[in-house]
């Protein structure tokens, strides 16, 4: 038993390694990947409040991530596409929500390992985190399978999608919801600061020459599995012995030259 301590964290790394790229690719083709960054920073206030009320922290994080993402979307919807002020609004909400989360910890008098939340603590994760990530994985797979054609339409032609009678706002909300679930599940693995690397890098590797969104999603999940698994294996080597989250983030960044070569 003592030798199998790594099994559950490794399983989480693999599940999160597939889950995050699926959400990342779905958002990237909708040009909404920045939303992941916003959601990941905005889970902290909900997490703090949930801990204070003694409810599931992941649920609190999910609700607050979604609420801040919706608020930011509402604030930017009045601005035209491509307006530079949109980015300023999103960044302000991102920083503000993270600041609020950090402030709530002393204000509510709760104890939170902020370093683990920010950068992950995969080796401390257990079966509960594994189940959480499996549920999020099932959720995003179900959404993408059931609404695949709608998301393709929305990505390639948002104006036409609305005109064709698609419930664009509902589709966007559902994607925000599963992206927030993916972020919350990945907190134990890579933390809220590093999660975006696992969403973006595999998606970037998967996109060139993909002939369909389905192919891009499958490729990104495989790349994520490989990068996350490799990062974990490298991190836990006795000679290296580093926290897996940041190592996974660095491994993802190291693939950038490969992404440029594939174009």
């Amino acid at each position: 038993m003592a030798d199998s301590w790594w099994l559950t964290p490794f399983a989480i790394a693999l599940v999160v390694g597939m889950l995050c790229p699926l959400a990342g690719t779905a958002l990237l083709v909708q040009r909404r990947l920045f939303q992941v960054n916003l959601i990941s920073h905005a889970v902290l206030p909900g997490l703090a409040v949930a801990l204070f009320w003694g409810i599931e922290p992941g649920l609190g994080g999910l609700i607050s991530g979604v609420l801040f993402a919706l608020a930011a979307e509402r604030m930017t919807s009045a601005l035209p596409q491509g307006d530079r002020n949109r980015e300023a609004v999103l960044n302000s909400v991102l920083a503000g929500s993270l600041g609020l989360g950090v402030l709530l910890i002393p204000l509510l008098g709760i104890r939170v390992d902020l370093e683990a939340v920010l950068f992950g603590d995969l080796l401390a994760a257990g079966p509960r985190e594994l189940i959480q990530s499996l549920v999020a994985f099932a959720g995003i797979v179900a959404l993408l399978v059931l609404r695949y054609r709608q998301y393709v339409y929305l990505g390639v032609d948002p104006v036409g999608a609305q005109a064709a009678g698609l419930r664009v706002n509902t589709l966007r909300f559902l994607l925000t919801l599963v992206a927030a679930a993916a972020v919350v599940s990945a907190v134990s693995a890579v933390g809220i600061v590093l999660v975006v690397s696992l969403m973006a890098a595999p998606a970037l590797l998967a996109m060139p020459k993909a002939r369909s969104l389905r192919q891009a999603l499958l490729r990104s999940a495989l790349w994520g599995l490989l990068l996350s698994g490799a990062g974990f294996v490298v991190a836990v080597q006795p000679a290296i012995n580093l926290p897996p989250g940041p190592v996974i983030g660095v491994v993802c960044m190291a693939t950038l030259p490969l992404q440029l070569l594939r174009r």
Binding site: V156, D157, A163, A164, L166, A210
Partner: protein, 201 residues
Amino acid sequence: MALVGPNGAGKSTLLHALEGHLPVTSGVIELSGSPLTPALARHQIALMPQRSAIDWTFPITVQELVALGRLFGRRPGCCDVEAVLQRVGLAGLGSRRLDELSGGQQQRALLARTLLQPASLLLLDEPCAAIDPPSRTNLLQVMRQLCDSGLTLVVSSHDWGSDLDGYDQVLVLDRSLLAQGAPETVRRSLGDLRVGHECCG
């Protein structure tokens, strides 16, 4: 019918209102004598959006893009898709990625998607914008063939050139209706209007 006017004249706004998804602030839009509702529009009218509204780098094949034209109900088969691709002159290109096509071919692929919709009125928003002259001629020929097959096309354009003569009716807009009628009549009316403007300084 051509809907002509400068940028910002209201051509796209009018097309989106005709398509039933932009509420009109005054007046009523009727289709074959019945007030236009979103449900009626969905079954009778199809809109081909402006080129700039499309993400041409999206990972999708021509075949899959065209099949999106029939999103609800029975999914189109390969034969349905190949038939519309043939109508627009893209037979055999269904398995290509969208970004592997030329600008003119991309426009025709988008037109093929519009054709797969169960509609008798097609609204084409600047279909000839930003494509080279040979592709433009080709696209205009395809549009003429579609009209001859019994479909009604309303095509917006900011081009006042000789292409206008290919249309049965021309409607000139610049935030309000300036002229309408056959191409020759419209040219004459616009000439009078220009003289009137110059006289008034």
